[in-house]
Symmetry: C2
Subunit: 351 residues, 2 copies
């Protein structure tokens, strides 16, 4: 397969017009002398934090549902995603019908009650000292990432035991102080879940998780729906951190891609109005954001380059999750998306 | 007068060992081949926001007190400062015994009640449409700067009338929204008083004055006492804004340089304990910070270079106030300070 005369966007090599020859793997990339093009070729996207889409929810999806989940994500340009759990009794984790080629993002129960967001407080608990205790409920190989509040006494032991097993730790749903977060950072835990939602806010005498995320060299998940944080806030994060330290996620729930109405997120009732998902008390409860929209929003909010867009939508997440992807370069997997100049997805390959 | 073999620190030309010949004006600056030195020569400091020091208060100082005020400031390395008023009935402004070579910083009464800090709410009022209305109380030539909350309907007209008269506007004590601050910024009002104290905080769905100060190209006053904002916060501001957009101020009150005890700030009672000045309700009420300490703190908090220190302690304020100073360069005024390597002031010239 050869695609000619497209704008090739690579997160490291930049943007240039050329042609790409590929099968499963990219066989050749050639720069052309032309400067005009009709379409854009980008590395396919990765969504490390997604609860569900179009009626499917990670917690209850059948094997058949997970197949559809992948198909729906392919339409969004997403070749890899982490189906994400909500805070639940740990026994519930054993009921998840995870396909063998995906890994979970476990969001809770090891989070802070004060910053629970749309998680059921009844099931919140401190992390065990060792991740092996979770093996009672599911194989550790099913787990890609765990969101944990670093203020628990057991955090550091738990996080280190995860590291040994190749499970990423993401700090989140946390009321930690700056010093607590700094300590986690200095011990190598440098990722934060849906920044700055459900995190202790920036105060000028106690920077909290929000201030730590901005000041220290953390990588931050951002939900670029313009609802979880304002476009200006996204621009501020982009200004401070640069595209290298941002990972776009949808945090979408089963209502994504469906009409407004009533839905479940775990065992909590969610009401979606004008695409905004909330608990009855007004707490935001995940999003209805589609990845194909998230990339358009991010460009609109920040005026970033397409090279930077390739970082925040794919390359950074690939590095973070140790995935082979995110590049348009000879020898790399040909997980590719063709977009028009308005960033509408026209075609995807190899997923 | 010739000073030889010192580290010359200029905010634009940088740091180098050499000699400086000067009278009132710098006659010659020579780079030497040496790399060792005992002392540091810096442009003398400017403090655009200081209520008082050692028992002297701008609101009540006699002509004799103002002489002492200048002498005390000289010991701090400060060659120019703006004696700063507190929120008061406007008639009080006519009682200030300002010397002819200084100009006032009028802090209030045109501020927001919700962000009054240690200002007496009873006297807070919207700004008039035209600064000429203040001529009833004092000559406009007495005024260097006015801190104003931009959310007042009359803000823009007032601010423009100040601009025409060469009076600087600084946004402060404000509960404005991001959009309101952005509008002021776009109209050329790009300075913020004692950031982020007494300003609407950063929220991720409404950035407030704090978020606007960080996101837009504002110049920010910073009280680097480690109390008004934490050292980490100062480091965050330095990281985001750079030294070019920071102006150190003390915001000190008459208790500065004196023992703990009871003092007045305008007509409010202030209690100073361990050097921290507060109203009875715990609100911070100015500082007891000395400029000679502020520069040490800023270096400690941020690890900035001496070149950058020259920016935040003098050059930026000179540019901001249209003062001829802040450089060590032939032809510039010789307002100079000699410091040892621990930044203790050893000698000052020409003020």
């Amino acid at each position: 397969m050869i695609i000619e005369n497209v704008l090739i966007v690579d997160p490291l090599d930049g943007e240039y017009v050329g042609s790409v020859e590929f099968e499963d793997v990219i066989l050749d990339v050639k720069k052309s002398n032309k400067s005009t093009y009709d379409n854009i070729l980008m590395p396919a996207f990765v969504d490390p934090h997604i609860h569900g889409i179009k009626g499917i929810d990670t917690m209850t999806a059948s094997q058949e549902d997970f197949k559809k989940f992948k198909e729906f994500e392919a339409l969004e340009g997403v070749w890899y995603f982490q189906p994400t759990t909500v805070t639940c009794p740990l026994t519930k984790l054993s009921e998840i019908n995870l396909p063998s080629d995906l890994k979970l993002h476990i969001e809770g129960p090891f989070i802070a009650s004060k910053r629970k967001g749309a998680h059921n407080e009844a099931y919140i608990q401190p992390p065990p000292r060792d991740v092996h205790e979770l093996e009672r409920y599911l194989p550790l190989s099913y787990i890609g990432m765990i969101t944990v509040a670093p203020e628990y006494d057991t955090f550091m032991e738990f996080a280190r035991s995860c590291e040994v097993k190749g499970i990423r730790i993401s700090l989140g749903h946390s009321d930690a102080t700056f010093e607590q977060v700094k300590s986690a950072f200095e011990n190598g835990f440098k990722r934060i879940t849906h920044f700055p939602n459900a995190l202790s806010p920036l105060h000028h005498r106690e920077l909290g998780v929000t201030g730590a995320g901005l000041l220290l060299d953390f990588t931050l998940e951002i939900i670029a729906d313009g609802i979880h944080c304002s476009p200006d806030f996204v621009r501020l994060v982009y200004k401070i951190k640069g595209a290298q330290r941002i990972i776009l996620v949808t945090d979408s729930i089963s209502a994504a891609g469906l009409k407004d109405g009533s839905y479940m997120l775990g065992d909590l009732h969610v009401r979606v109005e004008n695409g905004i998902a909330k608990l009855h008390d007004g707490t935001l409860a995940g999003s209805t954001l589609r990845f194909s929209q998230a990339i358009k929003n991010f460009v609109k909010f920040t005026d970033c380059s397409l090279k930077e867009l390739a970082m925040v939508s794919s390359y950074n997440a690939c590095k973070d999750l140790n995935l082979n992807g995110g590049r348009i370069k000879k020898g790399h997997p040909a997980k590719l998306i063709l977009l028009d100049k308005d960033l509408n997805i026209k075609k995807v390959w190899n997923f």
